[in-house]
Symmetry: C2
Subunit: 438 residues, 2 copies
């Protein structure tokens, strides 16, 4: 690709994300909807001005990894552990039910082959953590009980989904279920999640020590991005999706992360703030690329809208996709509205679902309209859930009041640079003023 | 390219740049030397662990564009205009002399064909502004008299070099010199440099106005990067190199930029500071990629070191490359040491020189060792000039004392995040404290 073509393409993605995001907010929608719409409008679905390129895809991948890094950095580990049991129930319920229902309906009702039905069921297990996290962040509810349960469940879903994907991939290639490989992958992912945060913590400790004597400006942005990228690469080699590496790195550097054997590496809250301040513009730059890219990768013109099979099949699958995830959330003991929000939050399928469909298409298992239907279902779950969540929060504001307001959670709230002043630095600024008073 | 391969490649580039940069500083060299060495050591010249890819090339391009944006943002236009006449003399001298000498020696002494000799002469006209600017910044002399003269001359050299490149390209393709096209390109570039800053200023004014009512975080990083990329694309369409678009955008947003008809768009110094604070981590992230990429794009193993023609030809060309640029600097009225520094600052050829050699290779004009020699000369000028400049500044510290210290130039000095505290935000912080007192 020629340099200037790529530069203008990237500029177009950034500008479209910004304009559609701002319009979405004016119309009462979360900005992520605007960014997805930007991709759909500019992409092959509508205007055809832009299409995904390998380069855009890689930048989008960096965007989602950095977003998960920020999510990890902001995560309250105490709460995540507290939400652990509930997350586990929601994750397992929201994984087993859509898979079983999807497989059953596809195989027994619509008569699809076993393997195609399994890939189809697998597609419905994914949860697009990025979209729900963004919606909850926009609503200021990322740290709420339901937010933590969704976050934990989505991470677990991603891990389970990727193990299933590896399994189905083996199955498709070899023609038989390779259980030993599945066990190996499960083991690797578990080991990664036990070792990665400790390693990231140790490395960040070294970076912090080294910072005082560094002779070259820009240590934090370059070293942190390199760290996040290395962990993403490691996650891949352990058989996990890359974005989990970003999440693990962020988690390890968060202010409240606690390592049983890491007392010597006690976190410096000021350093966590510094990392957040320096990384925020970079995260904000890359993240919208991911959401625009999802919109660009959908091609709604590929769908044969006149086929009645398409309509019934897609409606049934949509029902399965929604009911499966909702049912998982109903299994836990929480207030009704919270369970509904958790169920809604699990609905968007996004990127991992698209990875499944790509596998199905590449291996020739999903042909003749099935692929289109899946893209449609993924698009619909991804596009619609944010509306629902927002609408539901407005309707049930009283029941969903956070028990602890977001501002009082012990760390400075995360001001964004979209405000009136120069508040992007207010967090670090406030921190330094506080240090000054000591 | 697979995602995880790219992520690890990028992480490797960032880490190598950091490690070699820090080592360079420990050994008394500017970090840019370390970053170039990182590319040479990891690249095909030595270890062969990494090679340039299209992705890396595009990210490097963004890096150099953003660096020039920062240079423009920090530029003191009063001084640039003041240095204007001198820059013009240095630029023309450092353009005409290397071209004439290079052409003459290649054609009349070594008997190369006319067209190949012209491409060869053209290669020697370029000035790699990025490397010299980085060295001067590292030495804290970017705003010195000599720094401003070099900056202005290098920008003019780039413009003239690109016009020459377009001319030679036309010549190579058509077999005749297309003077009308050359005039058109010269006209476009002039128009671009008259219109671009005004347009960038107007757009940034709109962004500033819009900032108060924006509903989505991250306006400044996304909008600013998009603006810079658009201007780079426009520069290309006007026939100028992309990085000049970044420079024009930065110049327009600098605190002291003055538009004759732009009184209504008076600059808000606080907004310029805010842009600088938000953009700095992004610039620091992308810039090292460019310098590592230059190192990676050199393959010193391609050079046939046993050929005596290679040695004589390369030494003569190196002499021409250095003498031609030095002679240009000797034409102005400045103190001796300053003229030497200016001459040295013009020596590195870097990226524009490489563009010329690529043209020469692609069109088949530069074969049989000539291409290797040019790569060698470019590598040598690019690698060696920073050493000279640094050594010369140490030796002639007294004569080169800045008439105005860098700190007292009316805007806060630019602290980097490599220091002891969290000083990356100190500029903005200081500004806010100051505002608070008003």
């Amino acid at each position: 690709m020629e340099v200037h073509v790529f530069l203008l393409q990237l500029a177009m993605v950034l500008m479209a994300a910004r304009i559609f995001g701002e319009l979405a907010v004016r119309w009462g929608m979360p900005p992520v909807i605007g960014e997805l719409m930007a991709g759909i409008v500019l992409g092959p679905s509508l205007l055809g001005l832009l299409e995904t390129s390998e380069m855009l895809h890689l930048l989008a991948e960096i965007g989602i990894i950095l977003l998960l890094f920020e999510v990890g950095l902001d995560a309250d580990v105490n709460r995540l552990v507290h939400a652990g049991a509930k997350s586990l129930i929601v994750a397992i319920g929201g994984f087993v039910l859509p898979f079983a229902l999807g497989f059953g309906v596809a195989h027994y009702t619509f008569g699809l082959p076993v393997l195609a039905s399994m890939v189809l069921g697998g597609t419905l297990t994914a949860t697009s953590i990025g979209i729900t996290v963004r919606v909850l962040t926009d609503l200021g509810r990322r740290h709420s009980i339901e937010g933590q349960v969704i976050l934990g469940a989505a991470v677990l879903d991603d891990v389970m989904g990727v193990i299933l994907l590896a399994l189905l991939y083996e199955f498709a290639v070899a023609g038989e279920v390779a259980w030993t490989n599945a066990l190996r992958i499960a083991l690797f992912v578990s080991v990664f999640f036990m070792i990665a945060p400790a390693a990231a913590k140790a490395i960040s400790y070294l970076i912090h020590r080294f910072e005082a004597s560094s002779g070259v400006p820009g240590l934090i942005p370059t070293a942190m991005v390199a760290l996040v990228l290395v962990f993403s690469g490691l996650a891949h080699f352990m058989g996990a999706p890359e974005l989990l590496g970003g999440f693990a790195a962020g988690l390890a550097l968060s202010r409240r992360f606690f390592l049983p054997f890491g007392v010597a590496l006690a976190a410096d809250p000021g350093f966590a703030d510094l990392i957040r301040d320096q990384m925020k513009p970079i995260v904000r730059l890359f993240t919208p690329i991911f959401f625009v890219q999802i919109g660009l990768s959908l091609n709604l013109q590929l769908v044969d809208w006149s086929s009645s099979f398409i309509w019934t099949f897609s409606l049934v699958m949509l029902l399965v996709a929604i009911v499966g995830k909702f049912a998982g959330a109903m299994l836990i003991s929480e207030s009704g509205p919270r369970r509904v929000v958790i169920g809604m939050g699990m609905v968007p399928r996004g990127e991992v679902g698209l990875v499944f469909t790509e596998l199905g298409r590449d291996s020739g298992l999903l042909g003749g309209g099935i692929y289109d239907v899946l893209i449609l279902v993924i698009a619909y779950t991804t596009l619609v859930a944010p509306f629902w969540i927002k609408w539901f929060y407005r309707r049930h504001a009283a029941e969903l009041e956070p028990s602890v307001p977001e501002e009082d959670m012990g760390y400075p709230s995360l001001p964004d640079q979209g405000g009136t002043g120069p508040p992007a630095l207010a967090g670090g600024h406030a921190h330094r003023v506080r240090s000054g008073r000591r």
